[in-house]
Protein backbone atom coordinates (compact mmCIF):
# COMPACT_ATOMS: atom_id res chain seq x y z
CA UNK A 1 0.00 0.00 0.00
CA UNK A 2 1.28 3.47 -0.87
CA UNK A 3 2.34 5.47 2.16
CA UNK A 4 0.44 8.69 2.82
CA UNK A 5 3.67 10.41 3.74
CA UNK A 6 7.27 9.40 3.35
CA UNK A 7 10.00 11.69 4.59
CA UNK A 8 13.65 10.76 4.17
CA UNK A 9 16.67 12.59 5.54
CA UNK A 10 14.80 15.88 5.63
CA UNK A 11 17.05 18.77 6.63
CA UNK A 12 16.30 22.43 7.07
CA UNK A 13 18.83 25.08 7.93
CA UNK A 14 17.76 28.67 8.49
CA UNK A 15 20.16 31.57 8.17
CA UNK A 16 19.68 34.35 10.69
CA UNK A 17 20.32 38.03 10.00
CA UNK A 18 23.96 37.72 11.05
CA UNK A 19 24.35 34.97 8.42
CA UNK A 20 24.73 32.28 11.08
CA UNK A 21 23.15 28.93 10.31
CA UNK A 22 20.56 27.41 12.57
CA UNK A 23 19.61 23.79 12.02
CA UNK A 24 15.86 23.25 12.42
CA UNK A 25 15.69 19.68 11.09
CA UNK A 26 18.67 17.36 11.31
CA UNK A 27 17.74 14.86 8.60
CA UNK A 28 14.53 13.31 9.87
CA UNK A 29 12.90 10.11 8.58
CA UNK A 30 9.17 9.68 9.02
CA UNK A 31 6.49 7.56 7.42
CA UNK A 32 2.74 7.77 7.86
CA UNK A 33 0.53 5.00 6.54
CA UNK A 34 -2.68 5.58 4.63
CA UNK A 35 -5.66 5.93 6.93
CA UNK A 36 -3.49 6.59 9.96
CA UNK A 37 -4.17 9.16 12.67
CA UNK A 38 -0.72 10.43 13.49
CA UNK A 39 0.50 12.87 16.13
CA UNK A 40 3.68 14.87 15.88
CA UNK A 41 4.60 16.03 19.34
CA UNK A 42 7.39 18.25 20.48
CA UNK A 43 8.21 21.31 22.55
CA UNK A 44 8.22 24.80 20.99
CA UNK A 45 10.93 25.18 18.35
CA UNK A 46 11.40 21.41 18.00
CA UNK A 47 10.78 21.41 14.24
CA UNK A 48 7.08 20.46 14.01
CA UNK A 49 5.91 23.53 12.11
CA UNK A 50 9.01 23.49 9.88
CA UNK A 51 8.20 19.90 8.87
CA UNK A 52 4.59 20.85 8.10
CA UNK A 53 5.75 24.03 6.34
CA UNK A 54 7.95 21.97 3.99
CA UNK A 55 5.07 19.58 3.30
CA UNK A 56 2.77 22.33 2.15
CA UNK A 57 5.43 24.46 0.42
CA UNK A 58 5.55 27.36 2.84
CA UNK A 59 9.14 26.47 3.75
CA UNK A 60 11.91 25.49 1.30
CA UNK A 61 13.76 22.37 2.43
CA UNK A 62 17.56 22.34 2.50
CA UNK A 63 17.83 18.67 1.49
CA UNK A 64 16.02 15.36 1.72
CA UNK A 65 13.03 13.78 0.08
CA UNK A 66 9.32 14.15 0.75
CA UNK A 67 6.66 12.02 -0.92
CA UNK A 68 2.92 12.51 -0.49
CA UNK A 69 0.98 9.43 -1.59
CA UNK A 70 4.04 8.36 -3.56
CA UNK A 71 4.44 11.71 -5.34
CA UNK A 72 7.82 13.35 -4.82
CA UNK A 73 7.37 17.07 -4.08
CA UNK A 74 10.49 17.85 -6.14
CA UNK A 75 9.03 16.12 -9.20
CA UNK A 76 5.35 17.08 -9.13
CA UNK A 77 4.66 19.47 -6.28
CA UNK A 78 1.29 20.49 -7.71
CA UNK A 79 0.01 16.90 -7.62
CA UNK A 80 1.42 16.33 -4.14
CA UNK A 81 -0.24 19.55 -2.94
CA UNK A 82 -3.60 18.48 -4.38
CA UNK A 83 -3.63 15.54 -1.91
CA UNK A 84 -2.99 17.82 1.06
CA UNK A 85 -5.29 19.92 3.21
CA UNK A 86 -3.59 22.18 5.72
CA UNK A 87 -4.89 23.83 8.88
CA UNK A 88 -2.12 26.10 10.12
CA UNK A 89 -1.44 27.18 13.66
CA UNK A 90 -1.88 30.92 13.02
CA UNK A 91 -4.96 32.47 11.45
CA UNK A 92 -4.05 32.96 7.80
CA UNK A 93 -7.09 34.38 6.04
CA UNK A 94 -8.17 37.85 5.06
CA UNK A 95 -9.99 39.31 8.05
CA UNK A 96 -12.17 41.47 5.80
CA UNK A 97 -13.55 38.75 3.57
CA UNK A 98 -16.78 36.92 4.19
CA UNK A 99 -16.64 33.39 5.59
CA UNK A 100 -18.37 31.90 2.52
CA UNK A 101 -16.04 33.72 0.13
CA UNK A 102 -12.91 32.52 1.95
CA UNK A 103 -13.87 28.85 1.72
CA UNK A 104 -15.26 29.20 -1.81
CA UNK A 105 -12.10 30.99 -3.01
CA UNK A 106 -9.89 28.24 -1.61
CA UNK A 107 -11.92 25.67 -3.54
CA UNK A 108 -11.29 27.71 -6.69
CA UNK A 109 -7.53 27.72 -6.03
CA UNK A 110 -7.69 23.92 -6.10
CA UNK A 111 -9.41 24.01 -9.48
CA UNK A 112 -12.88 23.00 -8.27
CA UNK A 113 -15.55 24.32 -10.67
CA UNK A 114 -17.83 27.04 -9.16
CA UNK A 115 -21.03 24.96 -8.85
CA UNK A 116 -19.29 22.11 -7.04
CA UNK A 117 -17.28 24.60 -4.97
CA UNK A 118 -20.53 26.21 -3.78
CA UNK A 119 -21.99 22.83 -2.80
CA UNK A 120 -18.84 21.79 -0.94
CA UNK A 121 -18.55 25.17 0.80
CA UNK A 122 -22.12 24.80 2.06
CA UNK A 123 -21.52 21.18 3.10
CA UNK A 124 -18.44 21.93 5.20
CA UNK A 125 -19.69 25.21 6.64
CA UNK A 126 -22.87 23.44 7.77
CA UNK A 127 -20.91 20.48 9.15
CA UNK A 128 -18.67 22.79 11.17
CA UNK A 129 -21.57 24.87 12.44
CA UNK A 130 -20.67 28.01 10.50
CA UNK A 131 -23.45 28.22 7.92
CA UNK A 132 -25.28 30.94 9.86
CA UNK A 133 -22.06 32.97 9.93
CA UNK A 134 -21.38 32.69 6.19
CA UNK A 135 -22.08 36.32 5.31
CA UNK A 136 -20.05 37.73 8.20
CA UNK A 137 -16.56 39.11 7.74
CA UNK A 138 -14.02 36.66 9.17
CA UNK A 139 -12.83 39.21 11.74
CA UNK A 140 -16.29 39.10 13.36
CA UNK A 141 -15.95 35.40 14.26
CA UNK A 142 -14.86 34.08 17.66
CA UNK A 143 -11.49 32.31 17.96
CA UNK A 144 -13.09 28.87 17.88
CA UNK A 145 -15.17 29.74 14.83
CA UNK A 146 -12.09 31.04 13.00
CA UNK A 147 -10.33 27.75 13.67
CA UNK A 148 -13.34 25.77 12.43
CA UNK A 149 -13.48 27.93 9.33
CA UNK A 150 -9.85 27.03 8.62
CA UNK A 151 -10.79 23.34 8.92
CA UNK A 152 -13.68 23.85 6.45
CA UNK A 153 -11.27 25.65 4.12
CA UNK A 154 -8.75 22.79 4.34
CA UNK A 155 -11.45 20.19 3.58
CA UNK A 156 -13.18 21.93 0.70
CA UNK A 157 -11.05 20.19 -1.94
CA UNK A 158 -11.54 16.87 -0.09
CA UNK A 159 -7.88 16.04 0.54
CA UNK A 160 -6.56 12.53 1.20
CA UNK A 161 -4.16 13.81 3.86
CA UNK A 162 -5.21 16.43 6.38
CA UNK A 163 -2.47 18.18 8.33
CA UNK A 164 -3.44 20.18 11.39
CA UNK A 165 -0.92 22.32 13.25
CA UNK A 166 -2.19 22.82 16.82
CA UNK A 167 -5.86 22.65 15.73
CA UNK A 168 -7.42 23.10 19.15
CA UNK A 169 -5.15 25.82 20.54
CA UNK A 170 -7.30 28.44 22.26
CA UNK A 171 -10.49 26.43 21.80
CA UNK A 172 -12.74 25.79 24.81
CA UNK A 173 -13.11 22.27 26.18
CA UNK A 174 -16.59 21.60 24.80
CA UNK A 175 -15.64 22.72 21.32
CA UNK A 176 -12.37 20.80 21.51
CA UNK A 177 -14.30 17.60 22.23
CA UNK A 178 -16.64 18.21 19.29
CA UNK A 179 -13.63 18.87 17.03
CA UNK A 180 -12.05 15.62 18.20
CA UNK A 181 -15.26 13.79 17.31
CA UNK A 182 -15.26 15.36 13.87
CA UNK A 183 -11.59 14.56 13.23
CA UNK A 184 -12.20 10.96 14.31
CA UNK A 185 -15.18 10.83 11.92
CA UNK A 186 -13.03 12.13 9.05
CA UNK A 187 -10.41 9.51 9.84
CA UNK A 188 -13.07 6.77 9.80
CA UNK A 189 -14.08 8.03 6.35
CA UNK A 190 -10.53 7.24 5.19
CA UNK A 191 -8.73 10.58 5.47
CA UNK A 192 -5.21 10.24 6.82
CA UNK A 193 -4.65 12.81 9.56
CA UNK A 194 -1.45 14.26 10.96
CA UNK A 195 -1.68 16.69 13.82
CA UNK A 196 0.75 18.54 15.98
CA UNK A 197 -0.44 19.42 19.39
CA UNK A 198 0.53 20.69 22.78
CA UNK A 199 -2.46 18.93 24.34
CA UNK A 200 -0.97 15.52 24.81
CA UNK A 201 -4.33 14.24 25.90
CA UNK A 202 -5.44 15.01 22.36
CA UNK A 203 -2.76 12.71 20.93
CA UNK A 204 -3.56 9.99 23.44
CA UNK A 205 -7.29 10.16 22.72
CA UNK A 206 -7.15 10.43 18.94
CA UNK A 207 -3.95 9.13 17.46
CA UNK A 208 -2.83 5.61 16.73
CA UNK A 209 0.78 6.59 16.23
CA UNK A 210 2.93 9.25 17.85
CA UNK A 211 6.28 10.69 16.83
CA UNK A 212 8.13 12.89 19.27
CA UNK A 213 10.38 15.50 17.71
CA UNK A 214 12.90 17.50 19.65
CA UNK A 215 15.82 19.69 18.56
CA UNK A 216 15.10 18.77 14.93
CA UNK A 217 15.28 15.01 15.51
CA UNK A 218 12.66 12.28 15.85
CA UNK A 219 13.42 10.85 19.27
CA UNK A 220 10.54 8.37 19.37
CA UNK A 221 8.16 6.98 16.78
CA UNK A 222 5.76 4.25 17.84
CA UNK A 223 2.12 3.42 18.46
CA UNK A 224 0.44 5.52 21.14
CA UNK A 225 -0.46 2.31 22.99
CA UNK A 226 3.12 1.02 23.17
CA UNK A 227 4.37 4.45 24.19
CA UNK A 228 1.89 4.66 27.05
CA UNK A 229 2.69 1.06 28.03
CA UNK A 230 6.25 2.16 28.75
CA UNK A 231 5.08 4.21 31.64
CA UNK A 232 6.01 2.58 34.88
CA UNK A 233 4.57 5.18 37.20
CA UNK A 234 1.35 7.00 37.78
CA UNK A 235 0.95 10.10 39.92
CA UNK A 236 -2.19 10.43 42.04
CA UNK A 237 -3.43 13.38 44.01
CA UNK A 238 -5.31 12.51 47.19
CA UNK A 239 -7.46 14.94 49.14
CA UNK A 240 -7.47 14.00 52.82
CA UNK A 241 -10.31 14.31 55.31
CA UNK A 242 -8.03 15.20 58.26
CA UNK A 243 -5.01 17.51 58.03
CA UNK A 244 -1.51 16.07 58.18
CA UNK A 245 1.61 17.67 59.58
CA UNK A 246 4.13 15.23 58.09
CA UNK A 247 4.33 13.18 54.93
CA UNK A 248 3.65 9.47 55.57
CA UNK A 249 5.92 6.69 54.32
CA UNK A 250 4.29 4.21 51.95
CA UNK A 251 5.92 1.08 50.53
CA UNK A 252 6.90 1.27 46.79
CA UNK A 253 5.54 4.83 46.53
CA UNK A 254 7.03 8.30 46.46
CA UNK A 255 4.94 10.57 48.65
CA UNK A 256 4.86 14.34 48.87
CA UNK A 257 2.65 16.41 51.14
CA UNK A 258 1.82 19.44 49.00
CA UNK A 259 -0.36 21.01 51.71
CA UNK A 260 -1.85 19.66 54.92
CA UNK A 261 -4.90 18.25 53.08
CA UNK A 262 -3.20 17.08 49.86
CA UNK A 263 -0.92 14.14 49.19
CA UNK A 264 0.83 13.53 45.88
CA UNK A 265 1.73 9.86 45.45
CA UNK A 266 3.76 8.31 42.62
CA UNK A 267 2.82 4.65 42.36
CA UNK A 268 4.62 2.03 40.27
CA UNK A 269 2.43 0.10 37.80
CA UNK A 270 2.84 -3.24 39.52
CA UNK A 271 1.60 -1.78 42.80
CA UNK A 272 -2.17 -2.30 42.91
CA UNK A 273 -4.59 0.30 44.21
CA UNK A 274 -5.78 -2.22 46.81
CA UNK A 275 -2.26 -2.37 48.28
CA UNK A 276 -2.06 1.39 48.32
CA UNK A 277 -5.41 1.83 50.08
CA UNK A 278 -4.54 -0.94 52.53
CA UNK A 279 -1.44 1.01 53.54
CA UNK A 280 -3.39 4.26 53.78
CA UNK A 281 -6.00 2.59 56.00
CA UNK A 282 -3.31 1.08 58.22
CA UNK A 283 -1.87 4.53 58.77
CA UNK A 284 -5.33 5.91 59.61
CA UNK A 285 -5.50 8.21 56.59
CA UNK A 286 -9.01 8.92 55.30
CA UNK A 287 -9.23 9.88 51.62
CA UNK A 288 -11.95 12.28 50.47
CA UNK A 289 -11.16 12.26 46.73
CA UNK A 290 -8.58 10.94 44.30
CA UNK A 291 -7.49 12.13 40.86
CA UNK A 292 -4.70 11.61 38.33
CA UNK A 293 -2.13 14.41 38.38
CA UNK A 294 -1.75 14.73 34.60
CA UNK A 295 -2.26 12.56 31.63
CA UNK A 296 0.21 9.73 31.33
CA UNK A 297 1.58 10.65 27.95
CA UNK A 298 2.61 14.03 29.23
CA UNK A 299 4.86 12.45 31.83
CA UNK A 300 6.49 10.25 29.24
CA UNK A 301 6.86 13.17 26.87
CA UNK A 302 8.60 15.29 29.49
CA UNK A 303 10.91 12.45 30.44
CA UNK A 304 11.85 11.73 26.79
CA UNK A 305 12.51 15.38 26.04
CA UNK A 306 14.59 15.72 29.20
CA UNK A 307 16.64 12.64 28.26
CA UNK A 308 17.25 14.17 24.83
CA UNK A 309 18.31 17.44 26.43
CA UNK A 310 20.88 15.62 28.60
CA UNK A 311 22.15 13.80 25.49
CA UNK A 312 22.44 17.11 23.56
CA UNK A 313 24.38 18.70 26.42
CA UNK A 314 26.79 15.78 26.50
CA UNK A 315 27.39 16.06 22.76
CA UNK A 316 28.03 19.79 22.90
Amino acid sequence: MTLALEIQQLRKTYKNKQGREQVALKGIDLTVEQGDFFALLGPNGAGKSTTIGILCSLVNKTSGQVKVFGVDIDKDFAKAKSYLGVVPQEFNFSQFEKVFDIVMTQAGYYGIPPQLARERTEKYLRRLGLWEQRTKQARMLSGGMKRRMMIARALVHEPKLLVLDEPTAGVDIELRRSMWDYLAELNRQGITIILTTHYLEEAEQLCRRVAIIDHGEIIRNSTTRSLVAQLDKETLILELVHPLKQSPTLEACTVELTDEHTLQISVSRDHTMNKLFQQLTEQGLEVKSIKQKSNRLEELFISLVQQNLVKEEKVT
Binding site: L58, N60, A78, K81, N92, T105, G108
Partner: protein, 257 residues
Protein backbone atom coordinates in the same frame (compact mmCIF):
# COMPACT_ATOMS: atom_id res chain seq x y z
CA UNK B 1 -6.47 18.56 -16.18
CA UNK B 2 -3.61 20.62 -14.79
CA UNK B 3 -4.45 23.48 -17.18
CA UNK B 4 -8.06 23.31 -16.11
CA UNK B 5 -7.04 23.64 -12.44
CA UNK B 6 -4.83 26.61 -13.31
CA UNK B 7 -7.61 28.27 -15.33
CA UNK B 8 -10.21 27.93 -12.58
CA UNK B 9 -7.65 29.15 -10.03
CA UNK B 10 -6.87 32.15 -12.23
CA UNK B 11 -10.56 33.06 -12.61
CA UNK B 12 -10.96 32.72 -8.84
CA UNK B 13 -7.98 34.95 -8.09
CA UNK B 14 -9.03 37.64 -10.58
CA UNK B 15 -12.60 37.61 -9.21
CA UNK B 16 -11.25 37.95 -5.69
CA UNK B 17 -8.98 40.83 -6.69
CA UNK B 18 -11.80 42.70 -8.43
CA UNK B 19 -14.14 42.04 -5.48
CA UNK B 20 -11.48 43.49 -3.16
CA UNK B 21 -11.14 46.85 -4.88
CA UNK B 22 -14.87 47.10 -5.61
CA UNK B 23 -15.65 46.44 -1.92
CA UNK B 24 -13.56 49.45 -0.94
CA UNK B 25 -14.54 51.59 -3.95
CA UNK B 26 -14.62 54.74 -1.82
CA UNK B 27 -10.89 54.29 -1.24
CA UNK B 28 -9.99 52.95 -4.68
CA UNK B 29 -12.19 54.60 -7.33
CA UNK B 30 -13.33 57.94 -5.88
CA UNK B 31 -9.98 59.53 -4.82
CA UNK B 32 -8.38 59.40 -8.30
CA UNK B 33 -11.57 60.89 -9.76
CA UNK B 34 -11.45 63.81 -7.29
CA UNK B 35 -7.70 64.36 -7.82
CA UNK B 36 -8.10 64.43 -11.59
CA UNK B 37 -11.04 66.85 -11.45
CA UNK B 38 -8.78 69.19 -9.44
CA UNK B 39 -6.04 68.84 -12.06
CA UNK B 40 -8.52 69.57 -14.86
CA UNK B 41 -9.93 72.61 -13.08
CA UNK B 42 -6.69 74.13 -11.80
CA UNK B 43 -4.05 73.18 -14.38
CA UNK B 44 -6.25 72.67 -17.39
CA UNK B 45 -8.91 75.31 -16.99
CA UNK B 46 -7.50 78.12 -14.80
CA UNK B 47 -3.76 77.97 -15.54
CA UNK B 48 -4.20 76.34 -18.96
CA UNK B 49 -6.19 79.31 -20.34
CA UNK B 50 -3.11 81.49 -19.89
CA UNK B 51 -0.76 78.92 -21.43
CA UNK B 52 -2.79 78.53 -24.62
CA UNK B 53 -1.28 76.09 -27.09
CA UNK B 54 1.19 73.30 -26.24
CA UNK B 55 2.54 70.83 -28.81
CA UNK B 56 0.14 72.23 -31.36
CA UNK B 57 -3.03 71.62 -29.33
CA UNK B 58 -5.04 73.38 -26.62
CA UNK B 59 -3.28 72.99 -23.20
CA UNK B 60 -6.28 71.29 -21.61
CA UNK B 61 -6.32 68.73 -24.41
CA UNK B 62 -2.55 68.37 -24.12
CA UNK B 63 -2.57 67.36 -20.46
CA UNK B 64 -5.59 65.01 -20.56
CA UNK B 65 -3.72 61.92 -21.99
CA UNK B 66 -0.92 62.37 -19.42
CA UNK B 67 -3.40 62.65 -16.57
CA UNK B 68 -5.31 59.57 -17.72
CA UNK B 69 -2.03 57.68 -17.93
CA UNK B 70 -0.95 58.97 -14.52
CA UNK B 71 -4.11 57.61 -12.91
CA UNK B 72 -3.72 54.26 -14.70
CA UNK B 73 -0.10 53.96 -13.52
CA UNK B 74 -0.87 54.88 -9.91
CA UNK B 75 -3.92 52.64 -9.60
CA UNK B 76 -2.46 49.57 -11.32
CA UNK B 77 0.59 49.82 -9.08
CA UNK B 78 -1.18 50.50 -5.81
CA UNK B 79 -3.79 47.81 -6.36
CA UNK B 80 -1.23 45.04 -6.62
CA UNK B 81 1.20 46.36 -4.04
CA UNK B 82 -1.49 46.82 -1.37
CA UNK B 83 -3.39 43.62 -2.12
CA UNK B 84 -0.32 41.39 -2.29
CA UNK B 85 1.36 42.98 0.71
CA UNK B 86 -1.78 42.78 2.86
CA UNK B 87 -1.93 39.10 1.80
CA UNK B 88 1.59 38.71 3.17
CA UNK B 89 0.76 40.72 6.28
CA UNK B 90 -2.37 38.71 7.11
CA UNK B 91 -0.69 35.51 5.84
CA UNK B 92 -3.60 34.77 3.51
CA UNK B 93 -1.09 34.62 0.67
CA UNK B 94 -0.52 31.10 2.07
CA UNK B 95 -3.93 30.15 0.65
CA UNK B 96 -2.34 30.53 -2.78
CA UNK B 97 1.05 29.07 -1.92
CA UNK B 98 -0.39 25.78 -0.62
CA UNK B 99 -2.63 25.35 -3.67
CA UNK B 100 -1.54 23.16 -6.62
CA UNK B 101 -1.12 26.04 -9.06
CA UNK B 102 1.75 27.47 -11.09
CA UNK B 103 3.60 30.68 -10.28
CA UNK B 104 2.30 32.22 -13.50
CA UNK B 105 -1.30 31.89 -12.21
CA UNK B 106 -0.42 33.95 -9.14
CA UNK B 107 1.41 36.61 -11.16
CA UNK B 108 -1.24 36.77 -13.90
CA UNK B 109 -4.07 36.90 -11.36
CA UNK B 110 -2.62 39.85 -9.47
CA UNK B 111 -1.58 41.60 -12.68
CA UNK B 112 -5.08 41.24 -14.17
CA UNK B 113 -6.52 42.65 -10.94
CA UNK B 114 -4.18 45.66 -11.22
CA UNK B 115 -4.87 46.09 -14.95
CA UNK B 116 -8.64 46.00 -14.35
CA UNK B 117 -8.48 48.68 -11.68
CA UNK B 118 -6.03 50.75 -13.74
CA UNK B 119 -8.27 50.62 -16.82
CA UNK B 120 -11.46 51.22 -14.81
CA UNK B 121 -9.99 54.32 -13.17
CA UNK B 122 -8.61 55.36 -16.58
CA UNK B 123 -12.13 55.08 -18.02
CA UNK B 124 -13.60 57.14 -15.16
CA UNK B 125 -10.97 59.86 -15.63
CA UNK B 126 -11.54 59.85 -19.40
CA UNK B 127 -15.30 60.32 -18.91
CA UNK B 128 -14.65 63.17 -16.45
CA UNK B 129 -12.23 64.83 -18.88
CA UNK B 130 -15.05 65.04 -21.45
CA UNK B 131 -16.69 67.65 -19.21
CA UNK B 132 -13.66 69.88 -19.78
CA UNK B 133 -12.50 69.16 -23.32
CA UNK B 134 -13.24 67.18 -26.46
CA UNK B 135 -11.33 64.00 -27.19
CA UNK B 136 -11.24 61.77 -30.17
CA UNK B 137 -8.79 58.90 -30.56
CA UNK B 138 -6.37 59.33 -33.49
CA UNK B 139 -4.73 55.89 -33.37
CA UNK B 140 -6.83 53.37 -31.50
CA UNK B 141 -4.36 50.45 -31.72
CA UNK B 142 -1.43 52.35 -30.22
CA UNK B 143 -3.65 53.94 -27.55
CA UNK B 144 -4.92 50.56 -26.44
CA UNK B 145 -1.55 48.79 -26.59
CA UNK B 146 0.25 51.49 -24.62
CA UNK B 147 -2.53 51.58 -22.04
CA UNK B 148 -2.54 47.81 -21.64
CA UNK B 149 1.25 47.40 -21.52
CA UNK B 150 1.66 50.29 -19.09
CA UNK B 151 -0.94 48.90 -16.70
CA UNK B 152 0.70 45.45 -16.94
CA UNK B 153 4.12 46.99 -16.33
CA UNK B 154 3.06 48.87 -13.22
CA UNK B 155 1.03 45.97 -11.87
CA UNK B 156 4.23 43.90 -12.11
CA UNK B 157 6.12 46.76 -10.42
CA UNK B 158 3.61 46.71 -7.57
CA UNK B 159 3.95 42.94 -7.31
CA UNK B 160 7.76 43.09 -7.04
CA UNK B 161 7.57 45.91 -4.51
CA UNK B 162 5.14 43.87 -2.36
CA UNK B 163 7.32 40.75 -2.51
CA UNK B 164 10.28 42.70 -1.10
CA UNK B 165 8.22 44.75 1.38
CA UNK B 166 8.47 43.93 5.05
CA UNK B 167 6.28 46.73 6.37
CA UNK B 168 3.54 49.08 5.20
CA UNK B 169 6.22 51.82 4.98
CA UNK B 170 8.05 49.75 2.37
CA UNK B 171 5.06 49.81 0.03
CA UNK B 172 4.93 53.60 0.00
CA UNK B 173 8.66 54.19 -0.62
CA UNK B 174 8.63 53.41 -4.34
CA UNK B 175 5.43 55.39 -5.13
CA UNK B 176 6.67 58.40 -3.15
CA UNK B 177 10.32 58.52 -4.13
CA UNK B 178 10.34 56.94 -7.58
CA UNK B 179 6.92 56.80 -9.19
CA UNK B 180 5.63 60.28 -8.40
CA UNK B 181 8.81 62.18 -9.45
CA UNK B 182 9.19 60.13 -12.64
CA UNK B 183 5.52 60.68 -13.53
CA UNK B 184 5.67 64.45 -13.00
CA UNK B 185 8.96 64.60 -14.95
CA UNK B 186 7.48 62.30 -17.60
CA UNK B 187 5.88 65.10 -19.57
CA UNK B 188 2.32 65.07 -18.24
CA UNK B 189 2.19 68.87 -18.07
CA UNK B 190 4.80 69.99 -20.59
CA UNK B 191 6.38 69.18 -23.91
CA UNK B 192 10.02 68.17 -23.80
CA UNK B 193 10.71 70.95 -26.34
CA UNK B 194 10.50 73.38 -23.41
CA UNK B 195 13.49 71.75 -21.71
CA UNK B 196 17.16 72.63 -22.32
CA UNK B 197 18.71 70.02 -24.65
CA UNK B 198 20.67 68.29 -21.87
CA UNK B 199 17.46 67.73 -19.88
CA UNK B 200 15.70 66.52 -23.00
CA UNK B 201 18.37 63.80 -23.29
CA UNK B 202 18.18 62.95 -19.58
CA UNK B 203 14.38 62.75 -19.83
CA UNK B 204 14.72 60.01 -22.43
CA UNK B 205 16.03 57.75 -19.63
CA UNK B 206 12.66 58.05 -17.90
CA UNK B 207 10.42 55.18 -19.07
CA UNK B 208 7.28 57.11 -18.17
CA UNK B 209 8.14 59.66 -20.90
CA UNK B 210 7.55 56.91 -23.47
CA UNK B 211 4.26 55.82 -21.92
CA UNK B 212 2.79 59.30 -21.72
CA UNK B 213 4.00 60.35 -25.15
CA UNK B 214 2.96 57.08 -26.74
CA UNK B 215 -0.49 57.46 -25.26
CA UNK B 216 -0.66 61.12 -26.23
CA UNK B 217 0.25 60.15 -29.78
CA UNK B 218 -2.54 57.58 -29.80
CA UNK B 219 -5.15 60.10 -28.70
CA UNK B 220 -3.94 63.41 -30.13
CA UNK B 221 -1.41 62.34 -32.76
CA UNK B 222 1.18 64.52 -30.92
CA UNK B 223 4.33 63.10 -29.31
CA UNK B 224 7.88 63.99 -28.26
CA UNK B 225 9.09 60.46 -29.09
CA UNK B 226 8.38 58.09 -31.96
CA UNK B 227 5.35 55.91 -31.09
CA UNK B 228 6.95 52.63 -32.20
CA UNK B 229 9.96 53.37 -29.96
CA UNK B 230 7.54 54.15 -27.11
CA UNK B 231 5.76 50.82 -27.61
CA UNK B 232 9.04 48.91 -27.77
CA UNK B 233 10.39 50.53 -24.58
CA UNK B 234 7.21 49.83 -22.62
CA UNK B 235 7.11 46.25 -23.93
CA UNK B 236 10.75 45.59 -23.00
CA UNK B 237 10.30 47.05 -19.51
CA UNK B 238 7.18 44.94 -18.99
CA UNK B 239 9.00 41.78 -20.08
CA UNK B 240 11.93 42.61 -17.80
CA UNK B 241 9.64 43.03 -14.80
CA UNK B 242 7.73 39.87 -15.71
CA UNK B 243 10.96 37.87 -15.63
CA UNK B 244 11.92 39.44 -12.31
CA UNK B 245 8.51 38.73 -10.74
CA UNK B 246 8.53 35.13 -11.99
CA UNK B 247 12.04 34.59 -10.61
CA UNK B 248 11.05 35.95 -7.17
CA UNK B 249 7.91 33.83 -6.96
CA UNK B 250 9.44 30.60 -8.21
CA UNK B 251 12.34 30.96 -5.76
CA UNK B 252 9.93 31.93 -2.99
CA UNK B 253 11.98 35.04 -2.17
CA UNK B 254 10.18 37.10 0.47
CA UNK B 255 7.43 34.46 0.67
CA UNK B 256 8.88 31.14 1.77
CA UNK B 257 11.40 30.72 4.56
Amino acid sequence: MKNNVNLIALQTLVTKEIRRFMRIWVQTLIPPAITMILYFVIFGHLVGRRIGIMGGVDYMQYIVPGLIMMSVITNAYSNVVSSFYSGKFQHNIEELLVAPISSWVIITGYVLGGVTRGLLVGAIVTILSLFFTQLHIEHFGITFMILLLTSILFSLGGFINAVYANSFDDISIVPTFVLTPLTYLGGVFYSMDLLPSIWQKISLLNPIVYMINGFRYGILGVSDVRPEIALLVVFLFAMGLLGWAWYLLSKGIGLRS
